[in-house]
Assembly symmetry: C2
Homo-oligomer: 387 residues x 2
């Protein structure tokens, strides 16, 4: 038997207590290095990209940034370290002593003892130049490199935080997150301006059509969220505290929007009245209407004010809405295709409503970024699908 005493001994023998000889050098992010209080010569290791190189007679100054901070860390090295490889854009690992800086420009600096170039940078070919402030339009030509700049790195971090905050908000409010489909056989908003999806010629399928029906990139997850209103009965007008409603955060496509073909929409089924009624004008999606009377000139979701496809139907209106919808579909020859949507109203429907928010428009608004292409990691638009 492997007794407790034996186990303890075994554990001790593989103890992780560091051996003084091989004590590993503490690795610090640039942010942590910059924030170090009372830097007094402790040995640390910092990794990052060279943002500037200044070579003096006896000293070499580097500014190194790893993306953890807008500010870079100043590295001071003996001029013997100077080499061609220490160029703007190269990635390096620097080992040295973190000390108080004599200059007023920074609190701490790293006295290099060892500098290793991890990834060379062909500075001549590198499209970003030392000391130049490249405009966003210029950076847009290099979607594979622009996240290395402070501006795009920051935008993408805010995008990530905003995504998380929206998810938390809905989760904490009792909503169920639904992945609405990207491929659909519906033409939800009747716009007809869709992207069709077909197996490429290399795929061998016996049948002519892979899915039996023509399929498209979705223009809206709205109908699918309506389906999911069956997951829980909660009157939309009662909102939030009543939990569980549902929401999605799925990309949608509209070929009619010539500047944004792949756009994320946060949608939910359920209602947040104040938000919907006094929505900022700057974020107005096409289906919202002006609140001309409001002093701040806000917008409101038509869906909630005028019962429509995503209607709030109740009482005597209910049956009429069903027959109205049935007639509309029959007139357009769509009864068969949308029988499932009629079914939702035939089989114990419940009041529901919702609205969508263009996530990229929202990011533009909070970040003050003019062009939507700069808040999307890999933007796609007419005549461009880079990477």
């Amino acid at each position: 038997m492997f007794g407790a005493r034996c186990l303890l001994r075994a554990l001790r023998s593989c103890s992780s207590a560091p051996c003084p000889r091989h004590k590993p050098t503490a690795k610090l992010s640039v942010r942590d290095a910059l924030g170090a209080q009372n830097a007094s010569g402790e040995l640390v290791k910092v990794q990052g990209w060279i943002r500037s190189v200044r070579s003096q007679k006896e000293v070499l100054f580097l500014h190194v940034n790893d993306g953890s901070s807008l500010e870079s860390l100043q590295v001071v090295a003996d001029s013997s370290f100077d080499s061609r490889e220490l160029a703007f854009g190269s990635s390096v690992e620097v080992q040295g002593q973190l000390v108080k800086s004599l200059s007023k420009r920074q609190n701490v600096e790293l006295k290099a003892e060892k500098i290793e170039v991890v990834g060379n940078c062909d500075a001549k070919a590198f499209p970003f130049k030392y000391k130049e402030r490249h405009p966003l339009e210029y950076l847009r030509q290099y979607p594979h490199l622009r996240c290395r700049t402070n501006v795009l790195g920051s935008i993408l971090r805010v995008r990530s935080e905003a995504t998380a905050a929206i998810h938390s908000f809905f989760k904490d409010s009792g909503f169920v997150h639904i992945h609405t489909p990207v491929i659909t056989s519906n033409d939800c908003e009747g716009a007809g301006e869709l992207f069709q999806v077909e197996p490429s010629s290399k795929i061998k399928v016996p049948e002519e059509n892979f899915f039996n029906v023509p399929v498209f990139l979705t223009v809206s997850g709205q109908l699918h969220l309506e389906v999911m209103s069956g997951i829980s009965y909660t009157e939309a007008v009662e909102i939030l505290k009543q939990a569980s409603q549902n929401f999605t955060f799925t990309p949608e496509w509209g070929a009619d929007l010539h500047t944004e073909h792949e756009k994320y929409l946060v949608k939910h089924c359920g209602d947040i009245p104040v938000f919907v009624i006094n929505y900022p004008l700057a974020l107005k999606p096409f289906y919202m209407r002006d609140n001309e009377d409001s002093p701040q000139h806000t917008v409101a979701a038509v869906d909630l004010l005028v019962p429509g496809v995503g209607e709030l139907f109740g009482g005597s209106l209910r049956e009429e809405r069903y027959h109205f919808l049935e007639q509309q579909l029959a007139r357009s020859g769509l009864t068969e295709a949308y029988q499932w949507y009629l079914d939702l109203r035939r089989f114990g429907s419940v009041p529901h409503g919702g609205f969508g928010m263009g996530f990229e428009r929202y990011l533009q608004c909070i970040l003050g970024i003019d062009n939507i292409k700069d808040v999307i990691p890999f933007p796609r638009f007419t005549h461009s699908c880079l990477l």
Copy 2:
């Protein structure tokens, strides 16, 4: 001036203290009603779908469920309430007194004083029948109604919770969430079995090709995550505590997988060694290899063990890898198309690695669900794209 005293008075006059005459009936979820301690006749309102109807001479029993609980709430009503409309599947709003139940089957029940049918259900046409336990295969035919069942409602709730947990895990570990694109001009894994995306015939574009190049539904966001390794320098092998790495949770498509055409993959750039090395065999994606030596027969990510496309390159291997990749691309005539990928290695590359996890496979594993179609809200597969 609007003084403090005046303001206080104004606030008092619009106080939200309830007027006793119009005291609104408390609305309770079925879960909260069932969990009520010491139910002693308080007036409440409950909404939900009728799950069963049992009509006796003088009493009518209904079971009502709103999705908030697997258990339904028993509603006891005078037989005068009986009506055809109170059918299995209808949605109702019941007002009454929450009382202790005399039966041992439940703690509380609702003595109905008012029952309103909100949404009728055409019980004959409704595909789900009272008291029948429909198999998952049967429910799959009704993707627009199946979320009303306990089983699908539960699966979708677990899916939502699992999504949130994965997001939290990466966020708390300092990863940046990246939305990798759904449309791409790359053929990342070289499989060639792709879904092509083209504007439908209704879109009028002067040029023949909307994006100038053929575009496809992505089969992998891996290369895009590699681009984003430029957002922060963190050696993959140092992991987690070192923060900011990046991850994605974007759907991907492979036409070669005949059972799942729209699948979510959680991917990250960065490394979680234990997870990757001792990954459950049941979740093995194609690119992982068997850990034959491991006692639990786990799998590991090849990417991390054998430097590949998402390689862990360092030291002297680095330059060789670049030239190797360059030669490979030249041989396939892909140098121009993948110049951006070579660029990542030309301009200060940093060590990176990662792996992907099939989210739906993971759900199957934790839920014990045999068919992947049952863990996807709206599954798409060969010959089927419902809704």
